[in-house]
């Protein structure tokens, strides 16, 4: 396990460097002078010079890259040029809201997908299977920027049951969590169905039923446990997609997380903050993918010896 762990950690290092480099290059993709774009044409030359110095844009690109790189381990992601506060501090304040939203939507997705996927597999080819298949396809096809407003239309405008926006762990969380979790629930439902059907075909399940075990127990105690390993992997890997989806969901519901901060930073042309948000979301994804791989290697010894 130690050998696997070390190898996996070593493979992560170039990915982290690559991600940092891509994010660093983002600001250099700006068409024209970043300082002109950020301050507008009416800014006086002294202001422009000051911002150029602040963002290190007056130095050669390699020197800029070196100081950007050396700042990251110290948590120095630059200064937001609108609020004049450190970028990391601005982002850190928004993390709890995004974590709350992401964790709730993943929980909702699992709670919906697990029973629905099992039901579809156990009733293969019957009405329940077709219905859950259609629901999954519909949910996969509906983008969150459409689902969100539709849920608001139904539950806030028509029925008046839930608030349009707001922040908190109670009622304001319901619509954003459902919006963000629906696509993932659909993906997991299809996956649970497919992996469970694969397991149900195997001999050990037939043997368990032949020994007199009721079909339901054979599914719950034997097949489902084995079917869940790939589902756990998918769950971990889709964390990144949830974070990316939170950008749109948080914008729809004015949820005060990193996603909304990113859009606010884009609107304000606060590029150091844009870079910081993209970097933090991408590095969180790398970290969760690493944790998922390690967890799977612990769960399934075959992975460690591949």
């Amino acid at each position: 396990m130690k050998r696997y762990l070390l190898g996996r950690l070593l493979r992560t290092i170039p990915v982290v460097f690559g991600v940092v480099t891509v994010v660093f290059l983002l600001i250099h993709l700006l068409p024209g002078d970043p300082v002109d774009i950020m301050l507008g044409e009416s800014a006086v030359p002294a202001q422009k010079e000051e911002l150029r110095r602040e963002l290190h844009l007056d130095r050669p690109i390699l020197s800029q890259y070196a100081s950007y790189l050396s700042g990251i381990p110290r948590g120095d992601l630059g200064v937001s040029f609108r609020s004049r506060e450190p970028v990391l501090g601005e982002i850190a304040r928004r993390i709890p809201a995004t974590v709350l939203l992401a964790a709730t939507s993943i929980t909702v997705a699992v709670l919906v997908a697990l029973p629905l996927g099992v039901l579809a597999a156990m009733r293969r080819g019957k009405a329940a299977d077709y219905l859950s298949g259609f629901a999954a396809m519909l949910s996969l096809s509906i983008p969150n920027f459409l689902l969100g407003p539709l849920l608001v239309l139904l539950f806030s405008v028509q029925l008046g049951l839930l608030p349009v926006s707001g922040y908190g762990a109670g009622r304001p969380l319901v619509l954003p969590a459902v919006t963000l979790g629906t696509g993932m629930a659909a993906l997991l439902t299809r996956m649970v169905r497919a992996t469970l059907l694969e397991e149900l075909r195997k001999e050990y399940v037939t043997a368990a039923i032949a020994r007199g075990l009721p079909y339901r127990s054979a599914v719950a105690r034997h097949a489902l446990r084995n079917a869940l390993v790939p589902v756990v992997t998918a769950l971990g890997l889709s964390f990144g997609a949830v974070l990316a989806g939170s950008v749109i969901t948080e914008t729809i519901f004015s949820w005060p997380g990193i996603g909304r901060l990113l859009i606010q930073a884009i609107d304000a042309r606060d590029y150091p903050l844009v870079q910081g948000c993209v970097l933090v979301i991408a590095l969180s994804t790398v970290a969760v993918n690493l944790a998922t791989d390690i967890l799977c290697a612990r769960l399934d010894p075959r992975i460690r010896y591949e």
Binding site: S141, F145, L146, P149, L243, A244, I266, V274
Partner: protein
């Protein structure tokens, strides 16, 4: 069997899939609307009539009017052009890069493959449309920038599929025989390996068009897609959501268009996958 009849067999097998058949019909309608937009659209999609802003469906404007009094149906029909152009454009560019990178990495192996795998790992660390949002944010809203932003990450999926296919096909006997009779590496790759490695890409590309359409609409929803006043389904929803209480049709009409189009591509992708699956 020649390639032409092989393609016809594939179409016939795909059409046997009920969902795929419905998807094909929907997509044909969507294509016709996009191609003949100037003929079909009842009004100019950019013509404003501020006095009638936010009006609901009527005889002269079947799907109502937006806040500037522009005809929603006409904007929807013209929006189909944009969605289709972004979907096909992104997949076309991504396929070209993906095919070149994936086949070279799989065929040459060694250092080229290691660099390829490293680049893929880095790009895949950016989840969903995050990198596209970042790129579109700094480049500004325009059709070209949307294509660029979506293709930067779009090629990776195709490249990985094609690499895996090339790795598996290049060890088969017919490739070995071609190599033994002196085929050049380029001929081996283009004439013998790629034609036999391409079918999973068809399925992936079908889903890819749906993904690109959703991604463009998502960027436009955030104000990072194609520059206004051009009609984009995503920006129509983005503008319409501010009037949900008084004019819900501004969200539901473009929403239905996106949903139907994406479902059609997803059903078609499922059908193609089943048709190409030899176990079926």
């Amino acid at each position: 069997m020649n390639e032409h009849s092989g393609f016809l067999v594939l179409i016939r097998r795909t059409a046997r899939h009920r969902g795929a058949a419905v998807g094909m019909v929907l997509l044909a309608l969507f294509l016709l609307a996009a191609v003949f937009a100037p003929v079909i659209a009842p009004c100019d999609p950019l013509a404003q009539n501020l006095d009638e802003g936010l009006s609901g469906p009527s005889v002269s404007h079947w799907l109502g009017q937006d806040k500037f009094g522009r005809d929603v149906l006409s904007r929807l029909i013209y929006g189909a052009r944009l969605s289709l152009a972004v979907g096909l454009g992104t997949v076309g560019i991504s396929l070209l890069i993906g095919l070149a990178a994936g086949s070279l990495a799989g065929f040459l192996g060694g250092g080229v493959d290691r660099i390829f795998t490293g680049a893929c790992d880095i790009l895949l660390a950016f989840p969903g449309i995050l990198l596209a949002i970042g790129i579109a944010a700094v480049r500004g809203p325009s059709f070209g920038n949307v294509l660029f932003a979506l293709s930067v990450l779009g090629w990776v999926g195709y490249a990985r599929v094609i690499r895996a296919q090339v790795l598996s096909v290049k060890t088969r006997e017919f490739v070995e025989s071609a190599r033994a009779v002196g085929s050049s590496p380029a001929r081996l790759l283009l004439r013998h390996i790629l034609p036999n490695a391409i079918s999973p890409i068809l399925v992936e590309a079908t889903f890819g068009i749906a993904r690109a359409i959703v991604a463009e609409a998502g960027l436009s929803f955030l104000g990072l897609g194609v520059a206004p006043p051009a009609a984009s389904w995503g920006s129509m929803i983005g503008e319409g959501r501010h009037f949900l209480f008084i004019a819900p049709h501004l969200v539901t009409a473009p929403g239905a268009a996106i949903l139907l189009t994406v479902m059609a591509f997803n059903f078609l992708g499922d059908g193609l996958r089943d048709a190409l699956d030899v176990r079926q």
